[in-house]
Symmetry: C2
């Protein structure tokens, strides 16, 4: 008999969420553990997962009903199944995570990075269903990407393809990035990038703004969003600037792989047209004429909480 379930697991810096998913993409049950309770020993963390996840597995009829475990993890490498030098996780170096999980549960496991998992989720269950060529951009604390060409995730020679958050948005004197380079797209278009833009604009002008009610060091992208919704001009200028940088970059990505669509995903989606309009305008302006008006651009309609688990789970069917 076909096994009816897979596990999708999304490892974040704070929480690790996992769920039982059926063939139609329903999340049957879901649970989570803290990612960093055991910085000293990853086996204790895996044990936490085992205890929680086995409850869901037993409730679904036992491990023999499960085809595999798909995992999305920061710096996850599909080819090796390892998590390699992830700056936001407590365990350093190279972790053979897919192997550890597979051995613990006794079924196959596959792993990729979180943005690739989100792209697979979008292709399997989201608005990009049926699309064979699209690019997923995840706008969160950082900027990630998952690139789909001919219906498959692009992994490249070493498994690390699709680091579009670290392409040069501003050459020479760009903002310093956590990766050690400067001018990376992520330093402008992530949630933290938006907050950084807010601070720069507030400190370099005297313009009135609702954002001046918040101590400048504490401003978040959420504050900017809320101010923009109330018509604050400075907040709108911040989104226009962010959208300009991102739109220009998206045009370059189109020139690379000529996708049918670019799908945006993550926290910034809440800003809706306030951010989508300047992105679209600046992308169009920078496209070759042959692509103008032809590249779809939209926010993912997958629920953020489910998308990562769903995306990771899609990997579970392929092993």
């Amino acid at each position: 008999m076909e096994k009816p379930y897979v596990i999708g697991m999304d490892m974040g810096g704070t929480n690790t969420v996992f769920g039982v998913v059926d063939t139609r993409g329903n999340v049957i049950s879901k649970s989570a553990v803290k990612t960093s309770s055991h910085p000293e020993d990853i086996n204790l963390y895996i044990n936490d997962i085992y205890v929680e996840l086995m409850k869901l597995i037993e409730a679904a009829g036992g491990i023999e009903k499960f085809k595999g475990i798909g995992i999305g993890a920061p710096n996850g490498n599909f080819y090796t199944g390892n998590i390699e030098f992830a700056p936001n996780l407590p365990w350093k170096g190279v972790i053979p995570f897919s192997k550890l999980i597979s051995e613990k549960f006794g079924i196959p496991a596959a792993l990729t990075n979180d943005a690739n998992a989100a792209a697979v989720g979008e292709m399997t269950y989201g608005a990009a269903r049926g699309m064979k060529n699209f690019i997923m951009i995840t706008l969160g604390t950082g900027v990630g990407s998952g690139i789909i060409i001919d219906g498959k995730v692009v992994y490249g020679h070493d498994g690390f393809a699709g680091e579009l958050g670290h392409t040069n948005a501003i050459r020479n004197n760009g903002r310093l990035c956590g990766c050690g380079k400067s001018g990376c797209l992520e330093t402008y278009c992530s949630a933290t990038g938006v907050a950084r833009t807010a601070r720069e604009i507030l400190e370099s002008t005297k313009q009135d703004s609702l954002l001046r009610n918040v101590p400048v060091e504490d401003i978040t992208s959420k504050d900017v969003f809320e101010a923009a919704m109330e018509g604050d001009e400075v907040a709108k200028e911040i989104f226009n600037f962010t959208g300009k940088i991102l739109g220009e970059s998206l045009a370059d990505f189109v020139a690379f792989s000529a996708p049918e669509a670019i799908v945006l995903f993550g926290g910034l989606a809440k800003a809706g047209d306030l951010i989508l309009n300047p992105i679209k305008e600046n992308m169009e302006k920078n496209l070759l004429p042959l692509w103008r008006g032809k590249i779809k651009l939209f926010f993912s309609d997958l629920k953020e909480a489910d998308a990562a688990v769903l995306g990771a789970s899609a990997l579970g069917w392929e092993i």
Copy 2:
């Protein structure tokens, strides 16, 4: 019996070169016609090709020995077999070139753009033989690219993927490009881009240079190369500037598809280390740490005259 030959055809703005190629990549015979003798009627041009090419085909034992015809052409679309709105050809609009050639010769034909054909040639017969992930950058009158992922050319949703010459090298106030945009990589790193840089530097400084012996409007990239070989400082500065822009762009391309290698091809290759060193230095500086020192960068060793025909011919085997 396996058919032992294919035709490779490379259509340029001036000449159309074609040759008989065997399974081992030997160009058995070669000939050419002018591309633009018949701007009024493409059928007369196809007839010119037929007359010349049939001589080679007969000498090789007749059309029944040929598996197919592979064509590299500007703005050639692999999916449709059409040449679409090529600015440098005399026939306008959409030309069903693959169909016209196939009907004329009575064997299958396939078509792609010239940079993709060069990439296929490099993968089949060149230094990238055996590589499944690399990017070919053609540096000529323009800047073209052919992207190979998992052993296949990336065509994208519409067949036009790989327009890396039209990614933004300089945002805001970049050089105006023939495509209508500004700041395109091609405006800096093509042969004409190098000549443009030479004029800008000579006009904005008073520095002594061998290049001042040439009327500034007539300077070509060849003049720059010759001056650099004689140790001219301005000429070296021109190559350093060109290499910086290209190296920064290459780092972004690596972040997209994580290739094993980037292969450079075309006229600028003659400048050797004078251009390769600054490209490499600036690419390395802009790579994520995980890729530093790991991405091969070299000039194609295929003879320029043969590579386009060989590359196009490789398509002939696949139909």
